[in-house]
Amino acid sequence: MDLELREGIFVLDEMRNVSIKIGRIIDEEEEKEKEWEPLGPTPKPHILDLRHWDRRLLERYEPIYAPMQDFCNLCTMGPCELSQNKEGACGIDLKTQKARLVTLACLIGASSHTAHARHLVHYLIEKFGHDYPIDLGGDINVEAPNIRLVFGIKPKKLGDLEKVLDYVEQDLVRILHTTHTGQEEDHLDYESKAMHVGMLDHVAMEVADIAQVVAFNYPLGDPNAPLIDIGFGVLETEKPVILVIGHNILPARNIDDYLREHGLEDEVEIAGLCCTAIDTTRYDPKAKIVGTLSYELRAIRSGIPDVVVTDEQCIRADTLRECSKLGIPVIASSEAAARGLPDRTHENPDVIVNDLVSGRAKGVLIRDPDKVGEIAVRVAMEIRKKKGKKPPFMSEEELKTEIDRCTGCMNCVFACPHNLRIDKAMSAAKDGDFSVFKTVEDSCIACGRCEQVCPRDIRIVDVIMKASYDSLVRKTGKMRAGRGPIQDTEIRNVGQPIVMGTIPGIIAPIGCPNYPKARNEIVEIIEEFLKRKFIVVSSGCHAMDLGMYRDEDGKSLYEKYPGAFDAGCLTNVGSCVANSHISGAAIKVANIFAMRPLRANYAEIADYILNRVGAVGLAWGPYSQKAASIATGFNRLGVPAVVGPHAAKYRRAFIGKVWKKEDWWVYDIKSKQRMYVEPCPDALLVVAETKEEAIVQLARLCIRPADTYMGRQIKLTHYIELSKKYLGCLPDDWHLYVRTEADLPLKMKDELLKILEEEHGWKIDWSKKKILEGPIRPYDSGFNPTILEEVFEKYAR
């Protein structure tokens, strides 16, 4: 008999005289263990439980610190100058201080997803009950790989997610504690803590996403999830427009429900920015996506929205100011961002609507997402009725006036994060040439810093937008709705080819939209890999960007490539929190394909992935603390990431030294030996400056020690081809990855053998075209690498 009781006081009716003898209390873990697999070594690991793994990574992938400031002012003994690695008043040195700040950034990022998850789970349990099942459909039996791996349970119902979050929150607070003055004195210990935070982040994201997937009936790992309208041009401006911004679906869902319940879905537009937009389209494919963070200011300035609804994260901190200038009312709905607005959650909606429509209130805070729908819809409709057709956001005369006021002082150029030559664009525009502005617009993220320093208060953002406005408002694309997790069957299909290396790699474009170059750059990069039959799996802002661009035939990548998790396919898993399905997929390869035990077995799985799964993340425009945390979580799991140049400002990356032979070793379980290996992957986090560089680095980082010769041949082929195509040369290090002649690209075999002989001094048997001497190690098809003693001992017995 199983009797599950929650904590509390229980009154057992009509049992006054029954004496209940409680037998042995079976621990929950013990019970579940029977069901699936034995508990691994590190259930609910605390800060130091995986430190040995981190140290192994950090020995090889040495952190490189690029200080943003060479002083610390976190306590009042400071500010302390720490330049040239000096120590401050508390004794901390610059490297340790930087690692501390990285830890803090990761904490902010992970806590965002955790708070988001907590909010969702709390809400959903209130709506659907503690026992609402976590059922992701028949093809997804490993429903929560991150939770299984880290926490050590198989969550069956929403209530199970609560204790996972309890654990995550407890450890986030423990680590936040360690950033207090006077704690760690070794930068590697902070890096280990940052990695712990990153790992927890993936757990929290998984909680958030599976909770909303099961409760809101999002696509369940569906490769054919619907195609969604995306782009500035999707807005039907004749209708009242509700713009939702942020990362938490709850208020947007309520708006969507309200529209449907009142038969208004064709009368009122609901369109979103950022992850709220993505999740809204997972809930309702008719919802629309305007774009990413870099469209927020533009979307508001366009004057198109009739009402703006904000939830949390990545919402411009001038939203209310900007909306108020244009008379657009704002409804803030999150405790995380109350925007200074009066809390009117419990007031009569009629009064609130009236205040917002009349302009008496610039905005309101409505803390209950279930109350937002009615108010937002009514306000949008009434405002629309009142104001009528929207005027163009900027007239030609206004444009001319603004441009003419420019004195060319260049303040804007130095304030611009990309030092865009606004001065030149202004000057050309004065002569009627707007082409320079179009170039500027291509790289403008509409952050508005230019306007802050303009001595003439020129509406620079508007001027830039105006110059391309016609194309902007016509711009539409298609994105496949976020499908959620990868199916177990998909993993079974691709597991072997990935580990063998015959699928050359998994490329995961994830992250934020502040990459400086044209928005189609991400498309160019990714299409290169799709054509080469890599698996591409995306999420968040990059998933949106990939849908924004159409080719000459008018097709977006999502229309050209299938949505499966398979070679040459493009999968969109969903919003930020769906990144957990990408880490989850890597984990599932180790578990489902390779049958490695999953439960509470983090280090072994990460070691497996690092050595075998050629997955690489691409965050071309990472800006946020969330991106820092997500990337660090991937890194701890053995997944490297290539990041755009702005990511150098994260201050820390992980780059190994290919030339230090002694850094690159593994234990080979087969030969029972510790041996040197080729330096792959050679970095866990590295910046690329251009798309060309990114492409080559991505191909390069897919190489893994455990590649079969077939796999290595394929990977080297791509690496060398891409290097020749984009860099104009053979890469410097290709020979390091050659173990046997069978590793060599077929078409280039002779040529490469020759180079090996002549330039690298290898010995070649030309009769058999065989390598006799030269490689770091010989090839062995049974090679079974690990960098962990415990894994070596487990399997080498």
């Binding site: 330049s83 030092n419 150098a648 910046v687």
Partner: protein, 188 residues
């Protein structure tokens, strides 16, 4: 050239990003002829090139001229193609600036060709990216770094001033000054 100067607006004397700051040493401004002498005196100077070379052909030209004057080139992956097309044989072609910086930070590194660098010039980078790497080198190494980019780089040891539209001119002056001297490995 004097005429060219008149035509072009002189860029303001400020940081490419006014918030990219430090408490400690800021780069000394260096003039092209002084830099040329410095390069001439160096034992193993090297030029690291970046992605702007793909956008600005003139930068490629100047890099080639430096190369022809005996300055070795580390072409980051972002910039190797046009240089190789012009016949440069860079010391490396696939590594990123990030890699190169990590390597330079290691005192035990003996460079791509077996000899450590003593003077490192940077050309053609996103200023905010280069700034971070120069910061790393400033705080954690003793290398002499020089930015010859269009924006003043505060974290370098030496830097050209903000030149912006005058960038090609200052590079011209630099290669001209260098032309006279003999660059390359000197006796100890």
């Amino acid at each position: 050239m004097a005429e060219a100067k008149k035509k072009v607006r002189k860029p303001p004397e400020k940081l490419f990003n006014t918030a990219d700051i430090q408490a400690s040493r800021s780069a000394k401004l260096i003039k092209p002829d002084v830099l040329a002498k410095m390069v001439g005196r160096a034992k193993n100077p090297v030029l690291v090139t970046g992605g702007k070379l793909l956008e600005d052909e003139k930068l490629v030209e100047y890099a080639v001229k430096l190369y022809e004057n005996g300055v070795a080139i580390i072409a980051t992956g972002a910039s190797s193609r046009p240089l190789i097309e012009r016949g440069v044989e860079p010391q490396a072609c696939v590594f990123t600036l990030h890699h190169v910086t990590q390597f330079l930070l290691d005192e035990s590194w003996s460079g791509f060709k077996g000899e450590p660098y003593d003077l490192v010039l940077f050309l053609g980078f996103e200023p905010y990216y280069l700034s971070r790497m120069l910061s790393a080198l400033k705080h954690f190494s003793k290398l002499t770094t020089v930015s010859i980019d269009a924006f003043y780089q505060p974290h370098a040891r030496f830097s050209f001033p903000n030149t912006l539209d005058l960038h090609h001119e200052i590079l011209e002056e630099f290669v001209t000054a260098l032309g006279g001297g003999s660059v390359g490995k000197k006796e100890d």
